[in-house]
Amino acid sequence: MLLSQGEEPARTAGHGARRTVDEVPATASDEASRDAVRVAGSERLWSGAGTVGTGVVWGLRATGEGPPHRTAADLDEGAYTCGCASSQPPCPHALELLALHAGDRPVLRRSAEPPAWVAEWLTGVRGGIAADGAPGAAAGPGAKVDDGAGDRARAARRRADRRAGRITGGAQDLEQRLTDLLRGGLAAAQDPGNPLWEETAARMVDAQAPGLAHRVRELGEVPASGAGWPARMLEECALLHLLDTAWLGLGRLPAPLAATVRTRVGLTASAEGPAVRDHWLVLAQYDVPDARIVTRRVWLHGRASGRTALLLSYGAAGRTPDLALPVGSVIDAEVTPYPGGGRLRGELGRRFGEPYADPSPPPGGTTADALAAYGRALRDDPWLDAWPAVLGEVVPAPAAEGWRLVGADSTALPVAGPALSRPGLWKLVALSGGLPLTVFGACGHRGFEPLAAWPPGTSDGLGAREPVALL
């Protein structure tokens, strides 16, 4: 769902803040340009590339001979410029740039300010006059020139409405398919050759609702998940139904819940102040690979605020995301939360000073505290599978089925299924040695997924007490 992020209706402008990779070639004016976009590996030809705001991208495109082309695009305005001789904007180089932008490639540096040549060109585009003689000012016929902020806002709203309309169409379609499924019975979904899910997921991608598409694909895997699948299937169908009906009734929802629904459906939002400055302890950092993209998840605990925050960072498949914060280090930094989803996700802002190591564990709660926090979080986001929690003083214990984390009060949380087959489980057991320790992880309806642990206190005073990453 990450690559195909669309714009949030309220703040979108132009041709979309970020198009999907698949979508880019659709605007290519001829077959040759289309091929050019598909040339993977064009990334290394770019230098000095960057992006500012949501829709301005630029870069220097090496050509093999002569100086590189200066290429830039203003997606808000649908304007392009390039030093090449192509007569049909967007030229292949501009399309490459769009593909890089859509793929969130690391070669594009986020900047506060565009370089002078881009700024000059933008002035020309946005000021309504394509300044003659400005460097690379070949804003072609594709450059739409309008005459004021009012028009731009109106255009943005029109585009947002268009996308919302598509999603609504998709949601209605999905609702129809779900009710048809329930009318005929879930037993039909067990048929392994059933193309329903792939086809429905593709329909949701068309409707620009990647969040719905993702859930639909996961739904397709439930029938093969072993005993008790009909109950799990009904749960997931019901939650998907809840999500698409929530979208269809978005206007009647309170603002925070509406933000959650928008995020869940697959619209991107941006972090909104106020930023929280704190000494953030890094609880966990791990990568979730996908076919096209690696998502790095970093969990932070605010030493002063007590807040938990999740940072996401992306890298192209096979590449390490840029953000690297080792478990157990502390950064003095500002984190700005994103709307929706209980405001868990944050964006790392300004950092103050160097990170330092702090081996002391975060304050932990009981098993009941962890479940209660999950229950509370469901009020803000009923689609949550799990919520972060620090368990203090738990002992991993083998049970009839899998493992449990047993608290001092003899209550326990089962270790979640997927975590049972990971090497991290045995690291946790080895670290504990049968003694209570502090564990950070995600607590949800499937159990507890341990992500990091702090070793038990040692009376001999020997040895480091550094936290150990479990994933």
Partner: protein, 541 residues
């Protein structure tokens, strides 16, 4: 399209099971009845199911705790320095990485360094980091050659952890030094474990007791000997090998009449290692009727008259009557008699001549090979360095012309009876004289790291092989050994060899480049080993 195709609301009190049944069979076939009495449609069912789902998730309660495992025994060893811990994690991570495939290139082969790293860490007496225990046990599970070191390093917590995961059961079977040693100080506990224990526990108990009090171990074994199963008796009698003394003779002599042939053979072998034993005397008596001084010629020689039959007495003393195919009966019997005869007997028999003189004597009628091979086995069995030296001869003599044996396997076992420093010197001289092509097995018994003359010999021989223009993979076995065994201090001397030399005439094409690569790998491996050792030094943090 409308989202509320069915306006009738599903009954709020429908149970989750009702909902699942209706969903599974379909609302057309199995409708829920709405509060109004009308059948509720699929949308109403989904509404209600969503409510159930979120309500259930929001109201989850902790389970009742399972019984935690008993805490792991304390491990008083000091923790690893941080750099060494990172290194171990890296070595173990590399092990599980898929092999690069193809040529080895210039990078060190990290997996080959794990045993060495473990041995040094163990020598320093460090405690294994808890979080790396799973990876250590996985490594030992895949590679049996790592097990002893891993289990010693993993210590009590490693064993505790292995008890919780069936995949690591091997750790419980193995009786690693210090890791799983039964307590032998309480006679009552010993008696109880010996009476009721599992086979592996009893073997471990017997071994531990034998180490502390050989006589007590023998008595324990004698007490139940007649009731033990044959294959168990074999393992038990073999455990007397440790701390063998004349005090064991009576017990072993009795075992010569055991029902099991393997037990008899083992007892006979052990007795022949006791030069003062009655069996050794009987074998000497038989052997000396076959092997005698021959004074008929101008010079003293050795006359051999191999046995013509294998009587029941010989069989009782462990002589195997039927030779393996391709072996003559008489030479087979002769070999066994000489092998079990105390070597001192021959010096007496030949007028006080020493081993070196005896080995140099001509042997009549082509029996030399059989006689010398039997002496080699006897020297190894009786751990007699004097005879081993004589049978090895001088290292510069070509193997085919030397005394004793030309077999490299036999030579390496002979070498292993010599003091370690002497072994290295002998092999160094051997390599200086004959090069590396036959040195692999002999290098295997030399103490590591290869110091002084041995290290120089190997490096010089590699240099010569390179100049001769052959390909380095003809020496890949020795190269691999050198990477692991050369003293890291040699790295400096090797640097000059890493350049690509001009190809000598008649050289294999491209060999120079491959040699340069092989030497670069050798140097980088030695440097890495030096770094590993430095990280493990106490106070390295």
């Amino acid at each position: 399209m409308s989202t509320t195709q069915t306006t009738a609301r599903a009954p709020m009190d429908a149970s989750w099971e009702d909902l699942v049944t209706s969903a599974l069979l379909g609302t057309d076939r199995r409708p829920l009845t709405a509060e109004s009495g009308d059948p509720a449609g699929p949308a109403a069912l989904l509404d209600l199911a969503a409510l159930h789902t979120v309500r259930r998730r929001a109201a989850l309660r902790p389970a009742i705790g399972a019984a935690p495992p008993a805490p792991a025994p304390a491990d008083p060893r000091p923790p690893l320095p941080a750099a060494a811990r990172r290194r171990l994690a890296q070595l173990l991570a590399d092990r599980s990485a898929p092999p690069g495939g193809g040529r080895r290139g210039t990078a060190p082969d990290l997996t080959e360094l794990i045993p060495q790293w473990l041995a040094s860490a163990e020598a320093h007496g460090y405690r294994a980091p808890a979080e790396l225990l799973p990876a250590l046990l996985d490594a030992a599970r895949a590679r049996t050659d790592l097990r002893t070191h891993v289990l010693a390093f993993a210590g009590p917590r490693g064993l505790w952890l292995a008890g919780l995961n069936p995949e690591w059961r091997f750790a419980l079977r193995a009786t690693a030094r210090g890791a799983h040693r039964p307590d032998t100080t309480d006679p009552e506990a010993v008696r109880r474990l010996w009476a009721d224990g599992l086979f592996a526990e009893r073997v471990a108990l017997l071994g531990a007791l034998r180490e502390r009090d050989p006589g007590a171990a023998r008595s324990l074994l004698a007490g139940t000997w007649s009731t033990e199963r044959a294959e168990d008796r074999l393992m038990f009698v073999d455990s007397l090998r440790a701390g063998l003394s004349d005090a064991d003779e009576a017990f072993l002599e009795a075992a010569l009449t055991d029902r099991s042939r393997n037990v008899r053979a083992t007892a006979a072998e052990l007795l022949s290692g006791l030069p003062g034993s009655a069996l050794a005397g009987r074998m000497a008596a038989r052997a000396t009727t076959c092997v005698n001084p021959d004074r008929t010629g101008d010079a003293l020689a050795i006359a051999v008259e191999a046995p013509h039959e294998c009587d029941t007495g010989m069989e009782r003393d462990g002589v195997v009557a039927v030779p393996p195919s391709g072996h003559g009966e008489r030479s087979w019997w002769l070999g066994q008699l000489v092998e079990a005869t105390p070597l001192g007997v021959w010096c007496e028999r030949f007028g006080g001549r020493g081993a070196r003189e005896l080995v140099a004597l001509p042997v009549a009628d082509g029996w030399g090979g059989d006689l010398h091979a039997a002496w080699c086995r006897a020297a190894v069995r009786q751990r007699d360095p004097e005879w081993a030296r004589a049978l090895l001869g001088t290292p510069s003599t070509p193997p085919a012309n030397g005394p004793g044996t030309a077999s490299l396997a036999q030579r390496s076992t002979l070498l292993s009876t010599l003091p370690p420093a002497e072994r290295s010197l002998w092999v160094a001289d051997f390599i200086a004289a004959h090069g590396l092509s036959e040195a692999f097995q002999l290098l295997g018994v030399c103490p590591v790291p290869w110091e002084g003359p041995l290290g120089r010999s190997v490096v010089d021989a590699l240099d010569i092989a390179r100049d001769a223009g052959s390909y380095p993979w003809s020496f890949s076995g020795v190269m691999g050994l050198a990477e692991r065994c050369l003293n890291p201090a040699e790295a400096g001397r090797l640097d000059v060899l890493t350049t690509t030399p001009a190809e000598p005439e008649g050289a294999s094409p491209g060999a120079g480049g491959y040699w340069s690569e092989a030497f670069q790998r050798l140097v980088s491996t030695l440097r890495l080993r030096a770094a590993m050792d430095a990280e493990l030094a106490p106070g390295a943090d």
